[in-house]
């Protein structure tokens, strides 16, 4: 299969050369950071969603929400390490159905987060520890939880669905 123009460019960058040359230590390091980042995201946003859904009880959502900046930090850590992975082996991702679905889940999660802050956060942040959230807030956080689990699932299983060709 012919290499596409974008892939020729990606492979010509200094970052791509660096990843391929130093992969033996850089790859496991970035994987560890990527797992740490996903943990921060799931370990904050995930619990917040579970609380609004009513699965986890007895905590004010506003208190859990104070941890979310650490989840956002994890998200950006993963964007950064994700770029390292992509520039190292672009074809492993670009032609991988699991990666396509991962991007799709990320996009829906982002739009859904925007919806949450415009349509539900004002009601959720005043809830006391044992108060139930509105149906609307539950639907939105339910979608959030499913999307992030989708991102995690597609990412973790990505290498099982590598394209059969390597450049």
């Amino acid at each position: 299969m012919e290499m596409a123009a974008w892939e020729i460019w990606v492979r010509s960058t200094a970052l791509s050369h660096f990843v391929l040359k130093q992969g033996q230590w850089l790859w496991p390091l970035c994987e560890t950071l990527h797992f740490l980042g996903l943990s921060l995201l799931i370990g904050t946003v995930g619990y917040f969603d579970l609380r609004v859904l009513g699965v986890v009880k007895g905590m004010a959502p506003a208190e859990l929400h104070r941890l979310i900046p650490w989840g956002i930090a994890g998200y950006f850590l993963n964007l950064l390490t994700g770029v390292v992975f992509f520039f190292g082996y672009p074809e492993q991702y670009a032609y991988n159905t699991a990666f396509h679905f991962k991007l799709l889940f990320m996009t829906v999660a982002a739009a859904n987060a925007a919806l949450f802050y415009t349509a539900a956060f004002r009601d959720v942040r005043v809830l006391r520890a044992d108060q139930a959230a509105s149906p609307r807030a539950r639907v939105i956080t339910g979608i959030s939880l499913l999307c992030w689990i989708g991102v995690l699932t597609c990412g973790r299983l990505l290498t099982f669905y590598r394209p059969p060709f390597f450049h």
């Binding site: 496991p28 560890t32 996903l38 904050t44």
Partner: protein, 163 residues
């Protein structure tokens, strides 16, 4: 030990996890283990970072109900981890790093108990405990990831071709 590994690997459960032609065997367990890691290590790391960086980390008593939930996440991680261990006992148990990972998990859970008792309930600062906890969870994640790179035997009768 090899007889024990062979016994486990020949069991119906172990064989099914390894060889079943469905994503709901090995792959699903792997995803559950990753989800458990995220909820357990991530939940702890976020609390640690909050203790280390925030001026007023928590409202008094607000997080008392959090720790049973973290134990629930521990149960998810431990049970999915046990199934992965049953699938590949030789791979894990012949790798010294696996025992390092288990020791770090045990220490981290102990520190989590100390934080829940001392730091959150008494509103003490606990930056020392939070630092230790954060480093332990990073070590757990790092060791777990490196297990895929450092094993010398895959199955009792089949070693990794590259090793």
């Amino acid at each position: 030990m090899d007889a024990f590994f062979a016994y486990l690997e020949n069991s119906a459960l172990s064989t099914w996890i390894r060889e079943a032609d469905t994503v709901f065997a090995f792959q699903a367990i792997l995803v559950l283990h990753t989800l458990g890691m995220g909820l357990l290590a991530g939940g702890n790391a976020a609390i640690d970072l909050q203790i280390l960086r925030a001026r007023r980390p928590f409202a008094p008593g607000a997080f008392e109900r959090w720790f049973p939930v973290l134990w629930g996440s521990f149960a998810l991680s431990a049970m999915s981890g046990l199934l992965l261990l049953i699938a590949y006992p030789t791979k894990a148990l012949t790798n010294p790093l696996f025992y390092v990972k288990l020791a770090c998990v045990a220490l981290a859970m102990w520190v989590m108990q100390l934080i829940s008792r001392k730091v959150l309930k008494e509103s003490a600062r606990g930056k020392y405990l939070a630092t230790v906890s954060l480093l332990l969870w990073i070590a757990v994640i790092g060791a777990g990831r490196l297990l895929a790179y450092t094993y010398t035997r895959l199955l009792v009768h089949f070693s990794h071709p590259g090793m």
